[in-house]
Symmetry: C2
Subunit: 365 residues, 2 copies
């Protein structure tokens, strides 16, 4: 839906929001929607989805089950999603019946690394140097252009370090290509970044934009470990990050919350920003907003897609968000400090590498 259409009417409280995806993000979106008086309906193929525990309305079906998608869309008032890998055909079926927010173009761009980089570059937003790779010869050409080390990635369906290989020497090329091909690939030049930060930004149906403070992110085993706010960057760089995130949602004619990951790159004694990737949804590195912001990212997303005015993203305290991976969650509640706000996802099985919950350690200013 374009913001240039006639001024949209806000979706009344009591309406039903359909959510594609029943993981922790879908669950937290549902809880936020409930706080605004909305009903939610979760669509997910996994009958054990954690989001099924927070609403009586669910559809258990595959994402390409056209009949189930149609019934789902007819049962809800608007549709949103917790993950960017919604198939294009799925988005098409749903958006024919009910408003899909964020829109299909945000999905198409963000679910393909090449399309995303091309889009960002076309808007003069700085990204790491990259080359498309379909053949071994492409890879050799790309290495010649970008040098080593470099990172070879599938263009689609990668997350948490899956679908990528770091190339350190020529000996790494053939095995990495064999491993990842025949999927379309992209080679990204190695970025000697000093920090990773991210900005969660929201744009409303009327075009209003609000960005949260940047978070500084630390990964472990390619999975987000902590997000710390404020990030240890200059106020100038923080403002730049917010402006880039704002430029992206405007360029996409976006509605909802979007996460933008940046590399902070030292150059000539100062720091510059490159966009690593964008995610058209609430973002793990924005979970701290629930503990310390006037409006958290989940409520902000629901407000945006419902055509409500955005809330204030202002932050009342410093905070460190820490993911609880696998059996780390079992240490709770025994070691729960008073100034720690836990959020657990109700997943039955604490498998290694699985995000089971997070905690926010709140530092009073």
């Amino acid at each position: 839906m374009s913001v240039n259409e006639t001024q949209p009417k806000p979706l009344p409280s009591g309406s039903t929001i359909g959510i594609l995806g029943g993981g922790q993000l879908g669950r937290m979106l549902s809880l936020a929607a409930s706080r605004l008086g909305f009903k939610t309906h979760i669509f997910c193929p996994d009958p054990q989805s954690p989001a099924f525990d927070v609403t009586p309305h669910k559809t258990v079906a595959a994402y390409d089950d056209a009949a189930a998608l149609q019934r789902f869309a007819e049962a809800v008032d608007i549709v949103t999603y917790e993950f960017e890998n919604v198939p294009a055909a799925t988005a098409e079926i749903l958006s024919r019946i009910k408003p899909l927010r964020p829109g299909a173009n945000a999905l198409a761009i963000s679910q393909d690394r090449l399309a995303e980089k091309a889009f960002l570059a076309s808007k003069n937003i700085p990204v790491a140097p990259y080359r498309a790779v379909e053949t071994n010869a492409d890879l050799a050409d790309a290495i010649a252009a970008l040098g080593l080390p470099a990172v070879l990635k599938t263009t689609r369906l990668g997350y948490d370090g899956k679908g990528q290989r770091t190339l350190g020497s020529d000996a790494d090329l053939a095995p990495a290509f064999a491993d990842l091909s025949p999927k379309p690939l992209v080679l990204e030049g190695f970025i000697p970044f000093s920090k990773e930060i991210s900005v969660v930004v929201a744009r409303s149906l009327t075009g209003e934009v609000k960005a949260y403070d940047p978070a500084e992110n630390v990964h472990r085993n390619h999975i987000l470990h902590t997000s710390t706010v404020p990030a240890t960057i200059s106020p100038t760089l923080a403002r730049q990050a917010g402006m880039i995130a704002t430029a992206i949602v405007i360029a996409l004619d976006y509605v909802g919350v979007l996460g933008v990951e940046f590399f902070v790159v030292p150059a000539d004694g100062r720091e510059t920003l490159l966009v690593n990737e964008i995610a058209p949804r609430v973002h793990n590195s924005g979970h701290w907003t629930e503990a310390v912001c006037l409006t958290d990212q989940f409520e902000q997303h629901i407000r945006a897609i419902a055509g409500w005015p955005l809330g204030d993203p202002a932050r009342l305290a410093d905070v460190v968000m820490e993911n609880l991976i696998g059996d780390e969650v079992l240490a709770l509640p025994a070691n729960l400090d008073g100034d720690t706000q836990p959020h657990l996802y109700g997943k039955a099985e604490a498998r290694p590498g699985r995000k089971m919950g997070h905690i926010n350690r709140i530092g009073r200013n």
Copy 2:
């Protein structure tokens, strides 16, 4: 359950919390339990209960349906409630099968004004002067002792101004008595209070106690209109209110969150406190905690009854909570300011006098 028993084990995340009552308090308790990874099961006779929209597990049955209560208790791990008027027989059935928290003694005391006042007075906690009234002669004697004006109330099942009459002159006595009897009644002496405040306090299964800052409450038509924090009282009086609330939960061997309403009474150039009433549950005058506290009253209640450590009740900002009664809710979302955090209850029909939601206006310090 007494805190003097063997050290209890915390209820593991993923367990099921049974909640008696499907109104907004049950709904907000369910949402808080979900944030800690618990499942919830709501028991309520009203098939349109707003809490039924935030969990797939419900029982629609009368509170005296023994078979339904038994099935419910067997399906959950612990039981709590959103209202103090749980019948004693209901509490007895449930607590035979699963832990009922807060316990039956808190219910017995708080659902009877006479028992409550006698309990408080026995603990040297100041209450308004009162007399039990069963006959017209009792009423005449009580008026002789306490004077006019005074307030005649049913001892049980009064709320939001229901079940009470203010007596201004002798002519009011007979009609008020005729109207309220043959229920057991209590006459309360008129208190020339300057303000009403309340304290929400929590006690854990291990006896830990934490109190929130006092809120200053304004009523309209006998229904809470606003709660403002901080209250305009001296630090000394605020501390006293917290200490009285703490003394009450200790005296009750209480587990969970409890609300204590006070009158602030000017006397000899200073202010003193009288306890007006207590409520063994999360409290409308504590809804501000969700917007600005490290741990809100709903999560605090769930932590307490689950045997988890209590969270920090510290407050990060000033706040005014305002109830949205009846069609006041229809003004949202259009007039929603950025610094306003709304919480709507998803009730289908905005009947006059019905609590439909609330907003928290957050003032940054």
